[in-house]
């Protein structure tokens, strides 16, 4: 009973903190760097989703609208499971509270963008209602593709190479501690000190942070939903409560990944029964702010820039792994 209360309490605390993160990112960093007032801190993460919950639900243009609408919920659940298995009370679940399970759940979060992109058919991609068969029009009989189809293809590419840095970084603490179980990794650090303070840990943390930005599709790694072409990308057709879920999912993913970092590199798992949760919250606040500081000064990367950066981060991750073996 005590454990269940601990898990539920920790999730609630995590959820509440996660709602403030998008606001902190936009108000404290982006707005300040760009010398503008910016939105109220509560606006992007709390008030906006709240507003969307009370808006009229519009059925999306999609071949499978209900499946499309349910995808943010699936994403949120997969993130929730990742967070759940970082809470120390769940370490007894064995294989679930391990790096492999976390990689599996992160993959679900990544794959849903492929589904979202494939299932969204927004009006933004439609032609004007005058025919392209008009005299002089180029290539009149070409098959039209929706903007979100490009996002789906990009999501495939990101799955193929974009997530390498994060996944490699996840295994650095596993190699150092000699176990893929989160419980063992935390226990190792309680004895030997945080992995972050080793050479492999520092490199691993840098790679983890790059992977964190890629997974959150933040500038400059925002090609999945680049305003310059695919606009909102896979999210384009979400409205009302489903859009609110998208916002909540992203905020919660920010918090969960930061918590994962605290567990793997600092040895501090989230629990409302210890002061350690303050460390989790601090990391969760610092990560988005650090990310915003980078993203405020970066343009969107096309694949021409994306490939070398990811390749470089992957190499760095491999170096961290080798250092961890040594």
């Amino acid at each position: 009973m005590y454990s269940i209360l601990g898990v539920i309490g920790t999730i609630i605390i995590g959820f509440i903190v996660s709602l403030w993160l998008p606001g902190l990112e936009r108000k404290l960093i982006h707005a300040r760097v760009q010398q503008r007032i910016g939105p109220p801190i509560s606006s992007p993460g709390i008030m906006a989703p709240l507003k969307f919950f009370f808006k009229q639900t519009i059925m999306p243009y999609s071949p499978l609208p209900r499946l499309y609408n349910s995808l943010p919920l699936i994403g949120l659940l997969s993130v929730l499971f990742i967070f759940l298995f970082t809470v120390p009370e769940t370490y007894q679940l064995g294989a679930f509270a391990s790096i492999v399970a976390i990689v599996g759940f992160l993959k679900i979060e990544e794959v849903i963008y492929v589904f979202m992109g494939s299932l969204s058919k927004s009006v933004m991609s439609l032609r004007m209602p005058f025919p392209d068969l008009a005299k002089g029009a180029k290539h009149p009989n070409v098959q039209r593709s929706f903007l979100e189809d490009i996002s789906a293809m990009r999501a495939f590419r990101l799955i193929a190479f974009g997530s390498f840095p994060l996944y490699i970084a996840l295994f650095v603490p596993a190699v150092i501690s000699g176990s893929i179980s989160l419980g063992d990794i935390v226990a190792y650090q309680q004895v030997h000190g945080p992995i972050l303070f080793s050479a492999a840990g520092v490199i691993g943390a840098i790679v983890f942070f790059i992977g964190y930005m890629i997974l959150l599709n933040e500038y400059p790694f925002v090609i999945l939903k680049a305003k310059a072409d695919v606009i909102e990308g896979p999210y384009m057709e979400y409205a009302a409560k489903w859009r609110a879920l998208v916002y909540i999912m992203r905020g919660f993913l920010m918090f969960t990944l930061a918590t994962l970092f605290s567990v793997l590199f600092l040895g501090v798992p989230p629990s409302i029964f210890t002061w350690g949760i303050l460390v989790n919250i601090l990391v969760a606040v610092l990560f988005p702010m650090l990310m915003a500081s980078f993203s405020a000064f970066a343009p969107i990367f096309t694949f021409k820039q994306f490939y070398p950066v990811t390749f470089g981060a992957t190499i760095l991750g491999v170096v961290a792994l080798l250092a961890a073996f040594i």
Partner: protein, 371 residues
């Protein structure tokens, strides 16, 4: 599979987050690489020429300011020049200087808007915001001179509106304003060109070579970015007292286009400084001209986007046969051509590099006669 067959079309617009104006671009792509492109305008048509037809010349002139929200002043100036050429009106030298000051301030604000929008499409919101802040100074200077941030209505037939006369206080404010802008734009240019991430995004992207630029009849800074040294200001008599360079770059890509505009801002500042220093004394308007009928008269000026053409005839004090040709119409071909072979994410950037103003371009009516 036949390699010439294009398989997929991506359509952006007429409403799109990267486009500040309504137009449509059809991109024919393979693996996210643009193989061909087609830009369509037409949803913004207001028929300004048709409305001007038969209006008294002063009214028709003031209507030309409504053609563009960015280069409103240069449209009015050119339209007034048509009347002045037709009626053989000589304007006071002081008025000519003030017109040039306003035109150059407008060029600075247009180029700053271009740089800000370019950065927005590039995904660099911070630079975009900061450039908009710098632009505010120019807008304020234009407000001080003409009374409005846009559509300041400075030129009239015979000179300038007396409201736009420059007293000592205004001259001082313009001096301080342009010094501030010059310093800030220089800081921006240094920071911008030393950023490897930005340089990687804009170098070699959507280039246009000199030969293609001439073949496609490209104009303005977009033409100069390909290395062609042509500026209509060098052909204009009123610019004779001023010393300035025609800025060119060699590569015709996004980087060259951005840099041409940055350096042109410095040249505009140079011209304004000369104008303020040597501002002649005297009246700013000569109202002694008389109305008479004229043949179709043509006038060309260098608008911020390139050569702007206005022509009309006068009949009983009313305008007839109005034709306006904006620079962007000449650059549409370049926009389409420059995209080929580049990534879709660079497509809007390739269009924006030519500084399109489709809203002022959108005026032609093509009547297709049915057989």
């Amino acid at each position: 599979m036949d390699k010439n067959v294009i398989e997929t079309e991506i359509t952006m617009g007429t409403v799109h987050s990267a486009a500040i104006e309504p137009y449509r671009v059809r991109l024919f792509v393979e693996d996210e690489i643009v193989k061909d492109a087609e830009i369509t305008v037409g949803v913004n048509h207001r028929g300004v020429e048709r409305i001007m037809e038969g209006l008294p010349v002063e009214k028709a002139n003031s209507l030309t300011e409504k053609i563009c929200g960015i280069c409103s002043g240069v449209h009015l100036w050119n339209s007034v020049l048509v009347a002045e050429k037709g009626l053989e009106v000589e304007i006071p030298e002081r008025a000519s200087y003030i017109r040039i000051i306003v035109a150059e301030l407008e060029r600075i604000h247009s180029h700053l808007l271009y740089l800000a929008h370019g950065n927005e499409v590039l995904g660099h919101e911070t630079f975009s915001m900061r450039l908009f802040y710098i632009r505010e100074t120019v807008m304020e200077l234009l407000r001080i001179i003409g009374g409005n941030r846009v559509q300041y209505g400075v030129p009239i037939i015979g000179g300038i509106r007396p409201r736009a006369e420059l007293d000592e206080m205004k001259v001082q404010k313009i001096r301080e304003g342009i010094d501030y802008i010059r310093g800030k734009v220089k800081e921006f240019a240094d920071r911008f060109t030393s950023d490897p991430m930005i340089m990687s995004r804009i170098t070699g992207v959507c280039p246009l070579n000199r030969k293609d630029a001439l073949r496609l009849a490209v104009t303005g800074p977009t033409l100069r970015a390909t290395g062609v040294e042509f500026d209509t200001r060098k052909e204009m008599e009123c610019y004779d007292p001023f010393e300035f360079d025609v800025i060119t770059q060699d590569d015709g890509d996004v980087k060259s286009n951005l840099l041409v505009r940055v350096f042109e801002i410095f040249e505009s500042v140079k011209i304004i400084k000369q104008a303020l220093k040597n501002l002649p004394e005297g009246a700013v308007v000569d109202r002694s001209w008389e109305m008479q009928d004229t043949d179709i008269t043509k006038s060309y000026v260098e608008a911020p986007r390139g050569t702007l053409y206005h022509s009309y005839a006068l009949e009983d004090g009313r305008v007839r046969n109005v034709v306006i040709r904006t620079p962007s119409i000449a650059n549409i071909g370049a926009m389409q051509y420059a995209l080929i072979g580049h990534h879709i994410t660079d497509a809007q950037l390739g269009i924006v590099q030519c500084d399109p103003c489709f809203t002022c371009t959108d005026r032609a009516i093509e009547i297709i006669k049915r057989r």
